[in-house]
Every structure is written in C-alpha cells, then in structure tokens.
Symmetry: C2
Subunit: 331 residues, 2 copies
C-alpha cells in the first residue's frame, strides 16, 4: 500500500492505549481533590478535537460542568465561570502554540490547575502543565480517557470499565481501517485533488471533525479551498450553492445525529453529481461493542481520512509539511 | 439612495423598541416564577443570532445558566441539562421552521416553557409559544432585552436601565448607518459581486454574525460561495489559502476581541490585494455611551451590510427572495 508504515500506525495507537492508566490516575486525583468545573481550551485543530468530546458528553446524557473555550477568546475576554477551582485540560502536539501557552499562564495566574497532553518534550506546555501526559499519536486516547473518566466518576458513565477493556482493540482496528479505506481514498483523491472548492458536511461528534479536516488538512496542509458546514445548518443557507459539479464530502458517523447526514446525503445526491460519502459503518471494529461505535466514530473517520491525506499529498505533489505563512511569517 | 425606504427602516427598528417593555415583563415573570436554566434554540440564522448573545453574556461577565442549542441536534440528541424547569427562548421570522417547531414540541413534552419571538401570525410557533412577542423587524431588540434583563435580574448587569434608556436612539442611528455605509457597500459590491469565493472573518459577538451573513445572505440569497471563519481559528489553517487575488471581508466590531481582528487585518493585507474592512467604529452612535458600543456591534454591522445586500442583489440581478431548493424541494 502506497506510503503506509503499518508498524508506525499501530505503534501510535498503542502509545495512546499506554497513556490511559496514567490519564485515569490524574483524573481520579482531580476528582478526589474536588473541582468547580472543567475547561477544555484549544485553538484551531485542538479546539475542534475537544469540541468532539463536548458532543459525546451531551449524547451520553452527562451533566458534568464542562466548558469549551477558544484560547484566543479566553485570553482577551476570559470566562466568568472560570476560577481557581477550575481545571484546564489542553492538548497540544507542538507544545508551543502561542494562544494556548498564553491561556495556560492566565489560568495559572487565576490559581487553576492545568492538565496537558503534549507531544514535544521541553516545550512551554510540557513544562507548564501541572499534570502532564506525553507520548506520540495518543491524543484521542487522552481525550476519551479524561472525558469518560470524569463522567464515570460523576456516576454518569457506568460502562466505563467495559469501554476501556475494549478500546485496547483499537490499534489493530485502526490498522485495518487504513487498509480498507485506501482504495476509496485513492479514488476520491484521483477524482477531486484539483477541485476548486470542496464542501464538507458533518454532524454530531463529526461536525467539528469535518471542520478540522477541511481547515487543518485541506486548507493548511494542501492549500485546497474548503467550506465545512454542519448537516443541520447546511439546510439553512449553504444548500443553495450546491450545483451539479460541486464536490461534496459527507462525513457520516454513527451517533444519534446520523439522520441529519442521511437527509443531507439524499439532498446532495439529487443536485450534485460529485458526492463522496465516507461512512464509519463501512468499517468493522473487532472487540468493540455496538453501543460504543457511535462514540468512537471520530477515531474511525480520522483513520480513513489519513489515507485521503496520503493520496492528496501525492496527487497534488504537495507535501503535507509545507507551510507558506503559518509559523513562517510574523503576524 | 438606491432602493432605500428610510421610513420602513426606521419603522422596523421602532417596532423593535416597542416590544422592549412587553419582553421585559415576560422575563420578569419567568424570573419571578423561577427557572433552572435558559435554552436559546435555533437553526441556521436564528441559531447564529442567539450565538451573538452568548458572547455578549460572557464578555459582560455574567454567569446566568444559559445554553445554546441547535434545534436539529436538540430533537435527535436532547440535552441532559434540559428539563421541566428550563425555559426555551426562540426567535423565528417565518414561525414555521421545521426543526424549531419540532424542538418546541419536544420542550413542551418535557414540561418546559417557551418564549417566542415570531413575525408571522397564525404560524405554529406563533400558536405554540407560551409567551409570544410579535412585531416586524424587532428580532435584535427581543434578543437584547431577554438577555440583558436575565442578567440584570441576576444582579449581573447593573447598567440595564441606562442601556434601555439609550437603545431608543438606535432607530435613528440605524437610518444614518444605512446612509453612511452606502458608498462603501456599493464600492464593495461593484468590485466583488462576481467573486468566485469570498472569505469572511469575524470575532467575538460578530463571529457568528459573519457566519450568518456568509451563509444566510451570500449563500442562500445570492448563491455566492463563501468561507466564513473566526479570526482566532483563521490563523490555524485557513490563512494558508489566502493569495493575492482572494477576496476577504473583515468584519470588525468593538468588543474585547477586536485585537484578533487587527491581527487578521494586518496579515491579510500583507498577502491579499482584495481586502475589504467593515468596521463599526466608522459609525457614530448618537445617544449611546461608549461602554455599550461593543455590545451593539451586531446591530451596527447588520445595518451597514443591509446596503451591501441591496447592491449585490442589483449588480448580480439576483433578487434576494429567489430560492431554488430551500422550501421548494422536498428533502
């Protein structure tokens, strides 16, 4: 399979599994000490990853006091619910995102604690997290563990132990998703790599995921123009610009909002002849109970789209690592 | 001035002012009876209008228990914080938006109360609101009164009376904004009415406003392709697609997030030769204290952009009322 390092993929997800116990310990400590509320703070992709968790908490029926904050807004505006008994949770791959570093300093100045997932040693967020979780490729496992353990400790996710017994099967499942999605990913990239504008529609815990893929991969890493939109809002404006030749990607998961995606799929197939559907249902998840499939849709979708990224990168002869402005210009 | 009915514009805003007393009475009644939390529910433009209020509440430092819900998500997923002691607040011009009607039925089934602003008599939302506020063109005055009165009654907006004494000057100010913005709006529309894709950047209480203009006016009513993006997230992906000929609209208000817009403005002017800045600071607000200007930025910006819509409609020979799919196809 083109540009595929099976061992590296498996290892990243095994890294993720390996941080679960420590992440759990940190959450238990926080719950033991008591907290007023939890702030997931991020910007760009890290905000959009945390946003997926917000939907998962809601859909699971949990009322844990959780806030989602854009780091730039948090720095300039603050949040009246925030205080010394708040706990900040951040995930930063680079460990030095300007707005997030500033937000952490602001949180500390208020006396709050910071739990950080950071991949790069010695960076500001690595140094300034009060509780640090670190590995490579384990971001989702960090988010799921923090979120679901907070819910479990509040008596609002009794399936926690079962979920964690099963999630260890994800590294192997993910490798299989990469393999199974490759043909479709290549077909998509072959047909649409030069699209002038691509619409991405997602819902539920994949709403922010769709925005993230459009923004962080297609715009940032491929310089492709995109218009991400939620399935719900799509019908209240964006639908009017769909025409026969408009490329639309539907990002279908398995949570309770799936009917929104089915509605969007029916509509866009009536108007556009350039619709691609990526559906988590196409992938087997061995060792995972059906009740958890919807919750895990983001990991499944990300794995399938990793193959899209590989083929876009090749077809466009545009290495994913190239940036022209981001962190290269002073702004 | 082209296609401008001064009296009609003034009248709509006077209508808005005229519903303040009754809206206030409804909020006082609810606060008197007690409530657990408030749910602003909408979809598309109505969700994005309510979203502007969420920022205003946060920036004012208020901790009233306020939730923002997409009506489609609310219907399929629900919200664990919602219950019989919740109060739903909705605004619907048409009074029959499918998802919002369904959400109101769901709220009623749970035993919750519904406060509705509806412009069309006899429609489902007109009939099913427990407390109904109705007029034409007064949506913003409804939202400001509900939001600020809830804050005031919680002891979190002591400037309430002063604000309401001053807001009566807005109808006259709005008329002047229409007049003053016209030349710039025409210049913009003359230059960019045929743009293949337009980026709109907003922040703070204009972040959702920018999304709304891109989606509800440009996409829905002009079939123009847009990519709305917040100033904060812009720097984490979208910036990479900006090039010399990319049209960008900056939607600058006067709340605490203004520095984010200044940063975006500096950057896009370095890269794109097609930047248009709309700034609420360009407009005088007679009888309005400086401390309220930031809070009122959405009304100011909407008034300026009403002239953009008029000129786009004319230049594109595309009446704003045309729809090809919305409420015309079965989907």
């Amino acid at each position: 399979m083109f540009n595929f390092n099976e061992e590296a993929v498996r290892k990243e997800h095994e890294n993720g599994v390996s941080i679960i116990a420590e992440t759990q310990r940190v959450v238990d400590k926080i719950c033991g000490e008591g907290y007023k509320n939890i702030f997931y703070i991020g910007i760009g992709g890290t905000l959009l990853y945390a946003g997926q968790m917000m939907h998962i908490v809601k859909e699971a029926g949990s009322t844990i006091p959780l806030f989602l904050e854009n780091a730039a807004d948090f720095c300039l505006v603050g949040n009246p619910h925030f205080g010394k008994d708040s706990v900040v949770v951040i995930a930063s791959i680079s460990g030095d995102t300007k707005e997030v570093v500033e937000a952490v300093h602001k949180a500390h100045a208020a006396g709050a604690r910071v739990v950080g997932y950071v991949e790069k040693e010695g960076t500001p967020l690595y140094e300034h997290s009060d509780d640090l979780i670190t590995t490579v490729g384990g971001e989702y496992y960090f988010w799921y563990t923090v979120t679901l353990r907070l819910m479990a400790n509040a008596g609002q996710f009794p399936q926690y132990d079962k979920f964690m017994t099963e999630i260890v099967h994800m590294p192997e499942n993910v490798v299989e998703i990469y393999k199974k999605s490759d043909a479709k990913a290549k077909e998509y990239a072959d047909k649409y790599c030069d699209a002038e504008l691509t619409y991405l529609i997602g819902s539920g815990n994949l709403e922010d995921w769709a925005v993230c893929y459009g923004m962080c991969i297609m715009e940032e890493m491929q310089w492709m123009r995109t218009r991400p939109i939620s399935a719900a809002n799509f019908f209240h404006g964006t639908l009017e610009v769909v025409e026969r030749d408009i490329p639309v990607i539907l990002i279908k998961g398995e949570d309770k909002t799936r009917p929104q995606m089915e509605r969007a799929e029916k509509f866009v197939n009536t108007i556009s002849a350039n619709v691609t559907v990526f559906d988590t249902k196409d992938y087997e998840l061995k060792g995972i109970s059906d009740e958890f499939r919807g919750m895990l849709s983001p990991i499944v979708m990300r794995s399938a789209f990793q193959r899209v990224s590989v083929h876009l990168e090749h077809n466009r002869r545009h290495p994913l690592a190239i940036r022209r402005y981001y962190r290269r210009l002073d702004y």
